[in-house]
Symmetry: C2
Subunit: 372 residues, 2 copies
């Protein structure tokens, strides 16, 4: 069974779907791994290190596609590549089908069975395949480095011979995996952190990281599967009021609020930004989730740009997990290898369609689109 990993072609994508460790793991379950030359270059994963664990390294991309029983990738394959895949072959990607309808249609048309790592159900058995979480961890860490680098103040408290420097006040909106990592990293750097999430259940996690939790004094708003859900207008008005007060007194605001498959909820308005002190910084992780444009949690965000609003800097980083590609790839490659392993029985692709992880993450099968 031939498993193929290609160079990623999306601009700015530095990650790769395989690392030496997962070459070994997949070989152990009966796979032969074939990697396109230089596939891991931008992640500092070297061809020779992959080869040392048993991967073959080849330059002919078309032949690799034609020979693949399964393809692992980070971004969805380009439609041009999908045309070379054999009918009945399998693709495992971070597919986000709602954002990549052309690729999904092409996969179905070619009768490719495709699985999307961002659709893996959030049940404990599937945590090792949860790429949404693993990449959000990297993104949350990245957001803090960007905020700290852009801020005219330092994050930690300093007590020096020339007097005291107060710690930065950081507000984190959204306490999913990315938000929690942003809290943890800001705390590591010594900032005073306040956090908010629509799910009241997040309060304990936030507090366990040494941050204060913003309580609106309203009912919890947790949706299905542990994700945030879409909110009522009344709830949103109250949320805007409380968040607005806290944005104005913060030095740094990091937003990481996402509702899967939907535009990012708008949490920070233009008015709120204008009420911040000059030198304030907003890092908006809602601007893009896993390569798909989502509109942003802040009204003034422009994806991939640095916006200055009267001395307040707004960053909407593209593909933040890709900024630390070595570790992001290590985590992603393990997620992908774990899902692929679940699909294999006796050295062959033979998914158990009654398994909720298999069924939940499958996007195309037998020429049909199952998820949009």
């Amino acid at each position: 069974m031939q498993v193929v990993v290609l160079r990623e072609t999306v601009e700015g994508e530095r990650r790769v779907a395989i690392v030496p460790e997962t070459v070994a793991a997949l070989t152990a379950v009966g796979c032969s791994i074939a990697v396109e030359t230089g596939a891991g270059r931008h992640a500092f994963v070297r061809d020779e290190d992959l080869a040392a664990r048993g991967a073959s390294v080849e330059t002919d991309r078309t032949h690799l596609l034609q020979s693949a029983d399964a393809v692992l990738s980070v971004q969805p394959l380009p439609v041009g590549d999908i045309a070379y895949l054999a009918a009945g072959s399998t693709v495992v990607s971070f597919l986000q089908p709602w954002a990549h309808r052309d690729a999904v249609r092409a996969l179905a048309a070619r009768s490719v069975t495709s699985f999307s790592l961002d659709l893996v159900p959030r049940i404990s058995r599937a945590q090792s395949m949860d790429a949404l979480s693993s990449q959000a961890l990297v993104a949350g860490y990245r957001a803090v480095l960007l905020a700290a680098a852009a801020a005219p103040r330092m994050f930690p408290l300093f007590m020096t011979a020339a007097g005291t420097v107060a710690p930065a006040k950081v507000l984190v909106l959204g306490a999913g995996v990315a938000g929690l990592q942003a809290i943890a990293t800001s705390r590591r750097l010594g900032a005073v952190v306040t956090a908010y999430d629509v799910r009241a259940a997040a309060a304990d996690e936030v507090r366990s990281l040494g941050a204060m939790f913003l309580d609106l004094g309203l009912d919890s708003q947790e949706g299905a599967g542990g994700y945030a859900r879409v909110q009522s207008e009344e709830f949103l008005a109250r949320q805007r009021e409380v968040i607005g007060e806290h944005v104005a007194r913060s030095d740094v605001v990091i937003t990481a609020a996402a509702v899967p498959g939907r535009p990012a909820p708008l949490l920070v308005s233009a008015d709120m930004v204008q009420a911040m002190r000059p030198g304030g910084v907003v890092v908006d992780l809602g601007a893009e989730a896993g390569g798909a444009e989502r509109g942003g949690n802040c009204e003034l965000t422009r994806l991939g740009e640095v916006v200055d609003v009267d001395g307040v800097t707004i960053l909407g980083p593209r593909n933040p997990a890709s900024a630390h590609p070595l570790h992001a790839s290590a985590l992603y490659a393990r997620n992908a290898a774990n899902l692929l392993t679940l699909l294999i029985r006796d050295g062959q692709l033979d998914p158990d369609w009654d398994d909720e992880v298999v069924a939940g993450s499958c996007v195309t099968k037998d020429g049909e689109v199952l998820k949009t």
Copy 2:
């Protein structure tokens, strides 16, 4: 007594020599503070906040210079500005006279009495005026943010459902104020840190921050005043050998080794960089100290540029303290106000020339250049 603060004119200089707090402190000892419009803009120090503490804000730079009894600045004044100063007036700057001979000559020619904050003796009474230390603290913090942002790996240990991510291995060369802050900040972010300094006395400070100290097994090399001193060729050979071994196994190398008034000691050779794994990062704070080009602690550093050597990134940041101008200015302004206050008796400039802090930091006086 009129104390003047101007907009800094050196490219990339975002700091300012006064903050609202020091307006109040200097007013209390009898000074009138006059600030050029927008002097603090790039540091996010607002004219209205300075005015609220009693500063006058004026647009006529020439008139400000002509009316000054004393001028506070970060960078040395441009020679063109010095021409407008009254004979007998006083300037307090981060002057580094060896790097700014034209400015020093102009100050002497104009019979301006000048004091350099980087020459304040490192005695405990003068710690509150030690701008070399206060700015090195900011630079050391900055170096870690730059390294962490450029590294393809993350700094902390992560134990996730997709397996463990090992912490980054950081090597800090030079354990003065900047190096110690780089150690502390790297440790905050969860890295495993090893540090080296020619002064064996630094070992305890390094270890107290949770880092390992590299011991060459040779005699201590501490120079006068607690600074590092110039080393013998034999010592340097042994140092190169041990450092080379550790550079090769590090993910990140931060160099912060300076000998005051001399070129930066070369600690990391081209060979050492080539022995690093791809994805390695070097941040060289020795490339520039306080605005003066120093050559760098790493052979391949190019000041202000990002150099890629076979996948190893080398950064030689310009003016790193200026990257966090709000806090760097707060500390610097206090240093400057403290030194100026020392020069004032009964509301007038009346330095005690027998005071070792006054004498040690004076660069020009009565038309003579006292320090080069």
